[in-house]
């Protein structure tokens, strides 16, 4: 599945960029919010990057922190939204 690989690497590169550390690839089940790696500002940047790089529209209302709190969960969400 070339598409899914693309999603995975794109999401990881966005997250690495936003958190400023490669911890996200080393530990893809890390909680991004309780560790303080992502804040609201970075979350909005993530949503905007998903929109521009993958064409996925996530309204702020859909962003439930408990369902988007780890790199793996984000990838799964994005994949499901790509249909």
């Amino acid at each position: 599945m070339a598409d899914n690989d693309n999603v995975q690497s794109t999401v990881m590169s966005i997250l690495t960029d936003l958190t400023g550390s490669d911890e996200v690839t080393k530990n893809p089940d890390i909680d991004l919010f309780t560790t303080g790696m992502l804040d609201s500002m970075a979350t909005v940047q993530l949503l905007l990057e998903l929109q521009s790089q993958l064409g996925i529209n996530v309204p702020v209302s859909e962003f439930d922190r408990t369902q988007w709190n780890t790199p793996n969960k984000i990838i799964a969400k994005v994949e499901s939204m790509q249909g």
């Binding site: 609201s40 500002m41 909005v44």
Partner: protein, 404 residues
Amino acid sequence: MINLQPYANPMYFAILGVALLPLIIGLLNGKRLYWYGTLVSFIFLVLIFDGNKIHQGIALIGYGIYEVLLSWLYLRYRTNSKNKNSTPLFVLAVVLAIAPLVVVKMTPLFSPNPSLLGFLGISYLTFKVVGYIMETRDGVIKTFDAVKYIQFLFFFPTISSGPIDRYRRFVKDYDSVPSREKYLELMGKGFHNIMLGFFYKFLLGYLFGTLLLPQVAHLAMISRGGFLDISWGLVGYMYVYSCYLFFDFAGYSLFAIGVSYFMGIETPINFNKPAIAHNVKDFWNRWHMTLSFWFRDYIYMRFVFFAMKHKLFKSRITTANVGYILLFLIMGFWHGETWYYIAYGIFHACAMILTDAWIRFKKRHKGMFPSNKFTYAMAVFFTFNTVCFSFLIFSGFLDTLWFH
């Protein structure tokens, strides 16, 4: 006329416990008695707003009709595929939704009497309505269900002071019946919450608010005259008031959450050990959480999203900072139109901006500062005192101290 203010005394819980019994038995047997739940809610609402509070009751009914109609009209507009998602219309809907609250909040500036539109809980209802409209705008609420919407808005355990629930989360609970195992667990947690609430509100809240607070206030008042009237009494007031505020409000929230659990509704928690926050950002994830998350999701994130998409500011730091100022100014005005609520808002906006700057500085200079248990304890101590100072501003005591 009997009038029962929510959670005012232990008697209230006894009456409520008896009234909820059929609902509890129903839930234990896998049934949600909708008609009975509605009846109990209705009676307890009437008991809040009857007798000498009847004017508030009338205001509540008028407000309810107005907001439900407004929400319905906006949802009808949004779900008609012929319409585009007009921004001016969305703004208009939000302005109309908050208009009654604005009138109520502004009235004290012009009149000695409170507004006729006001009633206990109007602020919290307005948060729910605005959240509903924003989620309608985002297209995640697609169908209007008047009964569920009214149940959500007027859910009596949380009507006067929250916690602020969200429509889709509420409906998920309302539409389902927890398994017996799950419900027993909820009842256990609910019971624990209510007991802890007693301890917080009726014991510690009483100790700090009723017994100690007047003493330190008196001490501060008789020690006036120094620089900014600062005295040990004032320092005492700061800590005593902060403790009172926490135990009173956290106790109240625990009651509301506990009662919700017995009704099979998992109202979100409102406080998560705010005293151990290690910075102000962390504090707002632990203090009055449903309010701060509401501001985060519906004001801050939306503002930042809009500003970044339309490139309003050159740097994202500026964007974040303007967002903080906007959020906390609105929060200040929401608390009331006095200088000290607004100063409290500005103080927290500055604290957030400085916290972000400090986090950036530490990221740039990794290894420059030690990070261990001691520095962590220092951070917690510093945050605690910063927050207590902000509560001193919030208390309005400085207004009494300096100007009366």
